[in-house]
């Protein structure tokens, strides 16, 4: 039996433990081009989450036996910093969970990238979680897709993601760490928003078909909001760059 949560997850006035409504996202800040050394980079702050993503490539892949003759290899590394979690320090070595999330994030990003344009090459995505507070895989996908766009890699669409959860029978959007740990279920969803293509869909807990339908619709609405923020972040950086180019000419 799970321990009871330290604070009530749903308050009597119908709010969540951090004061949000059921269909409310945490405040999200996105910034593109935060790292100088990477080809492309982005940072996301979603509530207490702080995640940095860096992209390198396309570049030649070594060792060559890993290269594919018809498309690029996308390599993803999701890593949590030792100080990123509450409580005991996390070992910096990759855990089972981190290896799995790297794969899941890679598969969520792959359909959006024109990998077939870069045969025998590799595109590397490095995701560093500096502070974790639930929903990091979704936040990582949001940051990584911005970093890919910042690296100038051709994309079919940006990828946006959000986790929906089930807390005391209520379907809630963008769950935090407490709701993830003490809630009854969570469902991360990633989409290419303009196409409506789902690239990541996971769920744990028990969900009825109606709940899944409602949760997906809720996730879609959240993803559209995040997508608007992503576009705004890219415009913020590149409109400045274009003005400089035009003044130079």
């Amino acid at each position: 039996m799970k321990k009871s949560p330290p604070v009530p997850l749903i308050t009597p006035d119908g709010k969540r433990c951090d004061g949000r409504a059921f269909d409310e996202l945490r405040p999200i800040e996105l910034e593109v081009g935060v790292l100088k050394n990477a080809d492309g980079s982005a940072m996301i702050r979603q509530g207490k989450n702080i995640i940095v993503a860096a992209v390198y490539g396309p570049r030649e892949l070594h060792p060559k036996h890993l290269a594919l003759p018809d498309r690029a290899v996308l390599r993803c590394r999701y890593h949590m910093a030792p100080f990123s979690v509450y409580g005991e320090r996390k070992s910096p070595a990759p855990t089972r969970r981190e290896i799995e999330l790297s794969k899941v994030i890679r598969e969520a990003l792959e359909p959006a990238i024109f990998l077939e344009l870069f045969p025998r090459c590799a595109i590397d995505v490095y995701i560093e979680v500096l502070q974790a507070d639930g929903g990091t895989r979704c936040a990582s996908i949001v940051a990584a897709s911005l970093a890919l766009a910042d690296a100038g890699i051709p994309l079919r669409d940006l990828v946006a993601a959000v986790a929906v959860g089930k807390v005391q029978g209520h379907i809630v959007l963008d769950i935090n760490h407490l709701e993830d740990e003490y809630g009854e279920g969570d469902m991360p969803v990633a989409m290419m928003p303009t196409r409506g293509v789902i690239t990541l869909f996971q769920a744990d807990g028990v969900w009825t078909p109606d709940e899944i339908k409602y949760a997906l619709e809720l996730a879609r609405k959240g993803i559209m909001k995040i997508y608007e923020l992503q576009k705004e972040a890219l415009r913020k950086k590149y409109e400045k760059v274009i003005e400089e180019v035009e003044v130079g000419v």
Partner: protein
């Protein structure tokens, strides 16, 4: 081409196929799907109203792999069967430097207009060369050093490792008083 002030973002619809054809340059930065034309990068939309072409010029400044007709600088790493020099491309002319080098292949037929017996008469392992990319896809990229400005731009004496100096059509080591045969670029450094 006429350009718009607005920037296009990845996945943004910039036209429909009845209006324009996506311009296919080295990479399809504007691509067609289901009758719509989308941008695949952050870029400036350029329209050619007479040819009805639409293109997206990418804005992010990042290292890009070489493309057809690019002039590149490289170092010869090894030679296969006296006919192919395996070169690591270090950078592109115009300032791009590759942190992770790209492989280029120089075949004996792409050294000069005349027949040469062995590729060792043109380049040797360790030489720095200025070459042009003649393949559209890669890596590995196919290179040529045919032309006045292309060829070896820096070579070292195999015995004393001093830079070789240009002496007529040969390269000479002043230390060892030896001459070496190369396909020398007109831009040879010393």
């Amino acid at each position: 081409m006429k350009s718009e002030k607005k920037i296009a973002l990845p996945g943004e619809r910039i036209a429909v196929i009845e209006e324009f054809m996506p311009y296919s340059g080295s990479y399809p930065y504007a691509y067609e799907e289901d009758g719509n034309i989308y941008s695949s990068v952050v870029g400036i939309v350029r329209k050619d109203l007479s040819k009805r072409l639409i293109a997206v010029e990418p804005v992010p400044k990042c290292t890009r792999l070489p493309t057809y007709n690019d002039v590149v600088y490289g170092q010869v790493m090894s030679v296969i069967k006296d006919t192919v020099a395996v070169t690591k491309i270090l950078g592109k002319e115009g300032g791009t430097r590759y942190e992770v080098t790209v492989t280029g292949l120089l075949h004996i037929s792409q050294v000069s207009e005349t027949v040469i017996r062995s590729i060792y008469d043109a380049v040797r392992i360790g030489d720095y060369i200025r070459a042009k990319v003649i393949s559209r896809h890669g890596p590995p990229y196919l290179l040529t050093i045919k032309g006045r400005d292309l060829g070896v731009i820096l070579a070292f004496c195999p015995f004393c490792h001093q830079p070789l100096r240009r002496h007529g059509t040969l390269l000479q080591c002043r230390n060892c008083r030896l001459s070496f045969k190369r396909k020398i670029s007109a831009m040879y450094l010393v």
